[in-house]
């Protein structure tokens, strides 16, 4: 966890940063090749892509950043030559690209052009560097300090504490639905279940196999807690993704929510919200559920890859442009607060507190398993019925297991 120690060192590294930035600008002399980046769309990735394109300005360089990146990156990298020379991925989405063998090991390129990339940024799979990470992300509590003060309660550290605070806020007549959360049926809802289930101390698979095992007490505890929370949410919660939940927050309707660290910057700036909302928005730590003591959150990294089916010249150009874009040269006043950057020279900002606290609390990284995506999809399709009171928690868990098993059998993970 070297980066987080560095982060706290703060000013000392800021001096270093200036010199490295100058040194790195030499690396940005791409004369040949092609760069085309596909990735998700949020401020940190936009900054990285813009820097990479600026670096490769002498050659053919473009980026396609969209929330639907996962639907197009595999198709866009399967051709020969691949349309996209790089995909910006996270620890969940890199798995699909590795499964289909469309990204190349980067060891040779690291040796040639990436000598100054710190080891913590290199994502290795079976000894091969497959991606270069540039930021860390996690979900954690975001709260309204003024509202908690008004009801005279401390900042909750557990979901049980969130329920108590929510009840007090509702009883005091401050807000009708004080709890928020990205509970939109599908990927978001499944992500909340993954967090909660790990927080309850569960394991998704029988060790070393693709056999799912979530129909247990931890699974029921996780689902029951999710349902208890929804009682304090806007009744439309099944349609609220991270964007809609953030909008609810900025409208001042919500006082407590589990939210992505990469989105807290938007909540705490002075755009889109009243002053008493944004100035009292604070990033807290991760929450626990029950008595397991585990953080009910997962750690994520975002990083870039290089496509396999492209020429060596294109690969070299892509690597150099992105290595430059994720070097300390990227960090300035504007970008510093956009993410928990993994580069040297990052100084933690108040908005980053939540992610750093989640790392410090020892939350587990989101599982990088080839069949985890199938379980995630199965969970996203089958939890809403339970939350709406149409079936028992056990039935929902059985449905998830059955849907996963059918899909994993089709994909050849199970016989």
């Amino acid at each position: 966890m070297n980066v987080f120690k560095i982060a706290t060192l703060g000013t000392a590294t800021a001096v270093l940063m200036g010199t490295t930035a100058m040194a790195d600008s030499h690396a940005c002399a791409i004369t040949d090749g092609r760069v085309n980046i596909v990735g998700n769309e949020f401020p940190a990735i936009q900054s990285v892509a813009a820097a990479a394109i600026a670096c490769a300005s002498g050659v053919d360089a473009e980026a396609n950043l969209t929330a639907d990146h996962q639907k197009i990156n595999l198709a866009g990298m399967s051709g020969d030559p691949a349309e996209y020379t790089s995909a910006v991925v996270a620890n969940s989405s890199i798995v699909a690209l590795i499964n289909e063998d469309v990204i190349r090991p980067l060891d040779d390129l690291v040796a040639m052009f990436g000598a100054d990339i710190p080891a913590r940024q290199l994502i290795t799979v079976d000894g091969n560097v497959m991606a270069v990470a540039f930021m860390a992300n996690a979900q954690h509590l975001v709260y309204r300090s003024d509202v908690l003060e008004e009801i005279g309660m401390d900042v909750p550290t557990s979901y049980e504490g969130v329920l108590d605070a929510a009840q007090a806020i509702r009883a005091a007549g401050i807000m009708q639905n004080p709890v928020g959360g990205a509970y939109a049926a599908g990927w978001n809802l499944a992500e909340e279940f993954v967090n909660m289930y790990l927080g309850a101390g569960g394991e998704f698979f029988e060790a070393g196999t693709a056999n799912v095992s979530i129909n247990n007490e931890d699974g029921i505890e996780a689902l029951e807690m999710m349902k208890a929370l929804t009682a304090y949410m806007n009744p439309d919660y099944l349609t609220h993704d991270s964007n809609a939940t953030s909008a609810e927050w900025e409208a001042g309707n919500v006082a407590l929510m589990n939210m992505w660290g990469s989105r807290t910057g938007v909540l705490m700036d002075d755009e889109g919200a009243e002053m008493d909302v944004y100035s009292n928005t604070v990033a807290g730590g991760p929450l626990t559920v029950g008595d397991s003591g585990n953080a009910a959150s997962t750690l994520w990294w975002d990083g870039w890859t290089v496509a396999k089916n492209i020429s060596d010249v294109d690969a070299a150009a892509t690597f150099q442009a992105l290595a430059y874009a994720t070097s300390p040269a990227l960090l300035n006043e504007e970008t510093m607060s956009q993410a928990v950057w993994l580069m040297d020279g990052f100084e933690a900002q108040p908005v980053n507190k939540g992610v750093l606290a989640t790392v410090a609390a020892g939350a587990s990284p989101y599982p990088m398993l080839p069949f985890m995506g199938l379980l995630h999809t199965a969970a996203g399709d089958n939890i809403a019925d339970f939350l709406q009171g149409n079936e028992s928690a056990q039935q929902a868990l059985m449905d998830i297991e059955a849907a996963y098993t059918a899909a994993a059998t089709e994909q050849g993970f199970l016989q």
Binding site: Q70, D101, D236, P365, G373, L374, A384, G412
Partner: protein, 341 residues
Amino acid sequence: MKHSTFFWFVLPSAFLMLLFIALPVVSVVTQSLYTSHEQVLVTVENCGPFGCTPVTSIDQDATQALQAEKPLGKWAGLDIYKDRNHLAFAEVASAWVNADGLPDFGKTLMNLPFYKAMAFTLTYTFVVTPLTIILGFFIAVAVNSVAKALKGPTIFLTLLPFIVTPLVGSLILFWMVDARGILGAGLQWLTNNPDLSVKASTPLMWIMLMVYGIWHAAPFAFVVFYAGLQTVNTDSLEAAMIDGANRWERIRYVVIPHLFPLVTFVALIQLMDNFRVFEPIVSFSAQAHATSLSYAIFNDLGGETRLLSSAAATSVLTIIGIAILLSPVLIRTYRDFSKPS
């Protein structure tokens, strides 16, 4: 027509139909009969910013060797069709044996993704199609009697719902029925229930999706019927008037019989369109309440791991579904045309 003339005349269209209709269908059917190879799994060590962990991963070399041997994948026959995420034969059979009466059986059935999707898709198709036709017809009759100077603008405004892209049109309605939107707040005021939320209730969500479907498709029915109305024989109408028929009787006995072949046409198109209901489910974020076969295909292809065979099987089931749905109309049309006149 000489045979050779006929041959050269239809050749381009036959070729295009083969290329764009027959081949994709063959490809989808083939895909649905094969699954991925057995994945060769190995345990490797992954390292990253959060430390190193041993994880299960796919052995690329071994998997590639399997793939090179049989590029299509593993022959699965009808296994995909029979699995739980599609027709779920085993689950339905066990539910039939174990169910405590028909309602319990129905409940178990609705818990299976295919039958849940079919329940909504069929309800949607059979509610939206007739209502679209009826509404479209009445709009056509109404517009037809508007003063000549106003006709152009009226037709344009009436066509707007059909011109607006479905994704955008449904998003607009989605925000209007939000608890804080104009329609949502209006409903709360009307029912005197401040907690009423369209997006949180399955029945209301179904109704909203169907209202959207009718709103979107009615202009299509309207424009077809309006064109038909221009060809109604004015002599017959005048004769009916002289015979003392009122406005309704003239519509009932002269206009409707005249437009009936168009009803078949609109019904055909609408049955096909509505069976493929998709955009409003995405725009309304309605997947917790309503899914359709098209949505299931989208879901299979949109996850982190694409389920190609599953999506292909659902596509074939959709084609079969449309064929069954259209067969009565097609048989009727065929009979009408093969009647000796």
